[in-house]
Amino acid sequence: MAGKLAGRSALITGGSHGIGRGIGEALAAEGADVFFCHLEPEADGEVAAQAMRAHGVRATALRLDISDPAAPDRLFAAAVAAHGKVDILVNNAAYIPPKTFLQMTDADFEKSMRVLLHVPYLLCRRFADAVIASRPAQPEDTLGNAGVILNIASASARNARADRPAYSAAKAGLVMLSKALAWELGPHGIRVISISPGVTRTKATAPFFDDPADERWRRMRAIIPLGRPGEPADFGHVAAFLASPEAAYITGLDFALDGGFSVY
């Protein structure tokens, strides 16, 4: 069975574990090639790439620090060089200094803005330029599938968190950047959607989700209507749908993928 994304090529930031890897595996399962960057040991990136290749697609990992000023351009060029093009961009890489406003340094704030907002902006720009340049003169694409940008935001964009003000502010910025780009890029057939995770199993949170006695998990479970954290596979399912032709009329929205957290 040919997947819904056969022939498409995806670029994901932060693809070796967690949400980024869940999305990479799901896009690969639907037939897309996947290029991703990560900051784990090389071997971890290769393990994730192999899991994606198991679906019969090309998958390539590149280890780099996305906060390095030269990294976004280097990453985009490497993805095009390896897989020929990028049709689906997933801005997922995150940086979360666990500091309150009164604790953080200027450098903490600047790096948060760099990784969470400036890097997605740069990659969106390279992506849009490339998609528009590669298409025939057709100013108003009617299918909305020339390109898809999925920006991973956060429930923190709508619900403030005192323990991570820079993160919350940057994610709110990313949600609005996505909407503005949806407007401008819509006539070029590029759809732009943000996805906002709530409580999610990541490398950082897994230890206490796996411990039923952990007080933090007990408190969190009480605020998630579906009673469990989001899993990487949940994000994969949603991303595969939103990137597919079946979602061709969906753009400019923030998709809360949080088991009901944001309505509680």
Partner: protein
């Protein structure tokens, strides 16, 4: 994806509902097509049966409590269960300002879009609780988050519908029942085509306001609803999903 699942679609004989009924059937579901006009529903059902599907037509007005109760009972008696409900029946109201709106038109709009939605869930959910879970998708509207000229009753009713969706999602999430909605933007349905062109924005003007520059097909709305009902959306609940080609972001 819906092999042997029992699916109810209200407003299932035209537009978005009929498109969704066909997709559910293609994916293996047993489908109950409910609407006021039985003849039109039977035509959709015959088409699905001809393609090898299992389907029934039910005559029901969602604004009438007895009819909603009987509709849900008939689904459960026929298929033995109800796994998915696509509560899609809607009414645009009389396309007036709130000053000109008659009490009758106001009531009809709220009776179908709000009371009808509540009644459908009121009778569907107990069966889902009994069988260990289910998925509900409601049809809301872009006008649940913005408005359009002379759509006062409809706008207010669809805002209420969104509230009902998130309340239901919250109350029944612990029971493995997910509740979401789609908020269609401009869609080429009999409902849109039935709007008085003298009172409403012409389609070409509407198109120019939409970032994706086109009016949607009913199938595109149906695809979103079917996906929300599927296991692929198993962590998605309480979401009112805008499917509007970007119309909402472009406010000035």
């Amino acid at each position: 994806m819906f092999k042997d699942k029992a699916v109810l679609v209200t407003g299932g004989n035209s537009g978005i509902g009929a498109a969704a009924a066909r997709i559910f059937a293609r994916q293996g579901a047993r489908v109950a097509v409910a609407a006021r006009r039985l003849v039109a529903s039977q035509a959709v059902v015959e088409e699905m049966r001809a393609a090898g599907g299992e389907a029934i037509a039910i005559a029901a007005d969602v604004a009438e409590m007895d009819q909603v109760q009987a509709m849900v009972e008939q689904v459960v008696q026929t298929f033995g269960r109800i796994d998915v409900a696509f509560n899609n029946a809607g009414h645009t109201g009389d396309n007036t300002t709130l000053v000109d709106c008659t009490p009758e038109a106001w009531d009809t709009c709220f009776n179908v879009n709000v009371r009808g939605l509540w009644l459908c869930m009121k009778y569907e959910i107990p069966h889902m609780l009994g069988q260990g879970g289910g998925a509900i998708v409601n049809t809301s509207s872009g006008l649940a988050e913005f408005s359009s000229p002379r759509m006062a009753a409809y706008t207010a009713a669809k805002h209420a519908a969104n509230g009902l969706t998130i309340s239901a999602a919250l109350d029944y999430a612990p029971h493995n029942i997910r509740v979401n909605s789609i908020m269609p933007g401009a869609t080429l349905t009999p409902m849109l085509q039935g709007l008085d062109p003298k009172k409403h924005v012409p389609l070409d003007d509407m198109r120019s306001k939409i970032p994706l520059r086109r009016i949607a097909s009913p199938e595109e709305m149906a695809e979103a609803a079917v996906w929300l009902a599927s296991d692929q959306a198993s962590y998605v609940t309480g979401v009112n999903l805008m499917v509007d080609g970007g119309l909402k972001v472009k406010r000035w």
